[in-house]
Assembly symmetry: C2
Homo-oligomer: 460 residues x 2
């Protein structure tokens, strides 16, 4: 194999995995599948990846960039004629600038390592998600990862100041801007954020850091109507303002399954309420902020929005509350096989949407079918798990139809934060017009005319 | 003229301005020049603009989109063979969603009208700049306008959820997303934000709104060393956190010229200090926030960072402080002819940069040459005005060299927020690599292959 030998010359023997190396290599975070690529190439630097891409470009070899494999949309699946690029040998925090509050990292750096490196300087990188131990910054950028603090800090796109990417032909686009403001012509980094490795391979990035909060309040709040949820969210926005850092909601279906009935948690509040919100506020004055947080939650009880409240009194209690929200293993354990979704829509439309979806699923398969709902309500983002019973091979497409079609009329999105990958390509027209999709193809053709980067993902 | 008659059929007689209509029409906000275009077309809707662009495309007619003409980089200059598109008949606030906190507006809507429409619902659109009465949302988007609150709310890019644009061939890209999170494939709106009308013409936009703050504190703070400025900024970040909404600094050169010596203001603090910061914090609890603001400023005095502080006790006092910072008329009145700049760099590098620039200007032209510095220090963004004396036709290029060349080593930007237009094209290579500029040309060629949109601006 000429190409692989040429690539070995670039990245060294340990940089090219083939054969047995791959048959035991997981292709997803649950370990349900193994790597199907013809090889996995592991460059040690941007220069090595550039040389790899020049070689691949010369022989029209398709390549797929990979991160921590925690994606949920088959965005890095490989076939036998494709090569995967792994950034596992590019996982350094190169530098932290504590005055300018920026960090330069390599793409393969796990999110948690970034968090730790920021904390060492009294700073935070605010993007945070359940898979923090495995997911990488390069993967976060390629998918524009969201997570638990979007309501305050925005998505990954909002927290990347600069980046470096390698194009399909090996050209290095080094836009390692460290400045908050830079309007010197087109903002090229936007091309590579959220495009799932189809326009370029992110190699390094400059991340935006923030002062570590000096206070943190976390509460679990039970609510009994969706009007109460909306009123409570507005109340928190008005009274906590810039302190509000998370506003998550678990529908009863989720809270009771995971917190109450799974045996995996000690429920901080009893079941039986319609909705359970996790509210978090972080600020700069422990005493003042703690008092305000308690006051705002007290007002919510007085005004009748909230039915019950528990405020975490320790790190352990905080972890216990988030542990329920983030127990994806428990969810899959209870409800496999199932179909998972990540949609967004106007908050005001959510309750009706969920009620109709549940009714439609029950009408289709019967009342044993579970519809479990939770997510980043403050961002208009719901995660939905539908487990049709009895399961059948036709079930997923039917579920997708039930979940996605109503989004057209609502102006909703088929992907709030997970991306498109292979899984949602067919539904892209729910959230994008034909003109938008045509323009996406124009971009793809301009940046990757041979179609070598993550072929077939995002666009068909 | 066949084309103009065809366009009249689309936009009506009042929609096509030519001849005398133009000779009296200003081409810049100071009224120093008049419109040189062959015609100004004023569509009333996206559909009309689409039809206009189809016509122009068919005959390869170049067009230049314009906003409030408040730009500072000759980004909308027209020559006699070019047509300008004005959005002055598309200036409606179409709708406000107070629950989802979004506003749908037409491109020609002045920023101040957007502010007022948000205020009517107890909300704010946070982007704010001195030219708010004249500049338009379409212009703000096309230039990714910054302004006085970037340190808290980000730039225009961060506050546009969706937009609609017309491409060179008349295709309408309608991405009027209202969702905070939408990862359904490429984020096309990014193409049109900050690209100065070279990739498409923005017609409508969905803006992100925020709850109106319930408290507002403004202070003018005198500081006597740049180390003190940096320490004070860090202190404000740490202690005010998410409340800090502005951090502006006027160098002594600016404050004394405008506040003390111009006769146009009543200086809230005496001259003689090295730096004058405007700090603003907005929050959700008037009493608590006022106390915190006073406490944080008191600490800065105690710790020796701040030399003198005045806290605005009324709206009028607040307006007086900002009036100094925003008195561009006074600045130009005192120092015309001069060259103005809008650069960004790491905050830690600023003082040395300004000292060296001033020394170099004095060495070049003598000590009558004024270098006046002020800007959005919290964002790493300085506005610099250099007035060489004696003035000469060669002076501007020499000044540009003195201002821009040192930015290479600092990783600075030749344009923090004003854009490139015609004025900064030649210097783009200071802030962008050859590969970046080549990729920009690739994008331009992909979206506007005939080169009809704002030809020659941004890229050569």
């Amino acid at each position: 194999m000429d190409l692989l030998n040429a690539l070995r010359d670039i990245v060294g023997d340990g940089g090219v995995l083939t054969g047995e190396d791959l048959t035991t290599r997981a292709a997803d975070w649950l370990g349900l599948s193994t790597c199907q690529a013809k090889a996995v190439i592991r460059p040690r630097s941007t220069a090595e990846l550039s040389a790899v891409m020049q070689r691949c470009h010369a022989v029209r070899q398709p390549v797929i960039g990979t991160g921590g494999l925690t994606g949920l949309v088959h965005g890095t699946d490989a076939q036998g004629h494709e090569i995967q690029i792994s950034f596992e040998r590019m996982r350094s925090v190169i530098s932290v600038d504590p005055v300018g509050r920026t960090m330069l990292v390599e793409a393969g750096t796990p999110l948690q390592v970034v968090h730790e490196a920021a904390a060492a300087h009294g700073l935070i990188y605010p993007v945070d998600l359940g898979s923090r131990g495995s997911c990488t910054i390069g993967g976060n950028i390629s998918t524009n990862a969201g997570g638990n603090t979007v309501v305050r800090y925005g998505m990954t796109r909002d927290n990347v100041l600069g980046l470096e990417a390698v194009l399909a032909d090996g050209t290095v686009i080094s836009s390692l801007n460290t400045l908050l403001k830079n309007n010197a012509a087109y903002d090229l980094k936007q091309l590579f954020i959220g495009s799932e490795g189809t326009l370029g391979l992110v190699t390094r990035a400059v991340l935006k850091l923030y002062p570590q909060p000096l206070s943190e309040g976390t509460a679990l709040v039970a609510l009994d109507s969706f009007d109460a949820v909306m009123a409570f969210f507005a109340h928190c926005g008005r009274r906590l303002g810039g302190l509000l850092s998370s506003f998550e909601v678990m529908w009863q279906s989720h809270y009771e399954l995971i917190a109450v009935n799974s045996g995996r948690h000690n429920p901080p509040l009893p079941g039986g309420h319609g909705y359970y919100a996790i509210v978090e506020a972080t600020g700069t004055d422990a005493e003042r902020d703690e008092a305000l947080f308690a006051q705002v939650l007290g007002e919510a009880l007085e005004q009748g929005h909230a039915s019950d409240v528990v405020i975490a009194a320790s790190k352990a209690q905080r972890a216990a509350i988030w542990g329920i929200r983030e127990d994806i293993e428990g969810l899959f354990g209870a409800l496999t096989p199932s179909c998972t979704f990540d949609v967004s829509m106007p908050i005001a439309a959510m309750d009706d949407y969920v009620l109709k979806l549940t009714a439609a699923a029950h009408a289709e398969w019967g009342a044993d079918t579970r519809v479990v709902v939770f997510g980043h309500l403050g961002d208009g983002n719901l995660h939905i798990l539908v487990a049709p019973r009895p399961w059948s091979a036709e079930a997923p497409h039917k579920v997708e139809t039930l979940v996605y079609e109503p989004l057209r009329a609502l102006g909703g999105s088929i992907s709030a934060e997970h991306g498109i990958g292979l899984e949602k390509r067919a539904w892209l027209n729910v959230s994008r017009t034909p003109e938008e999709i045509a323009l996406m193809h124009t971009l793809k053709a301009a940046l990757d005319p041979l179609g070598l980067l993550n072929p077939g993902k995002v666009l068909r």
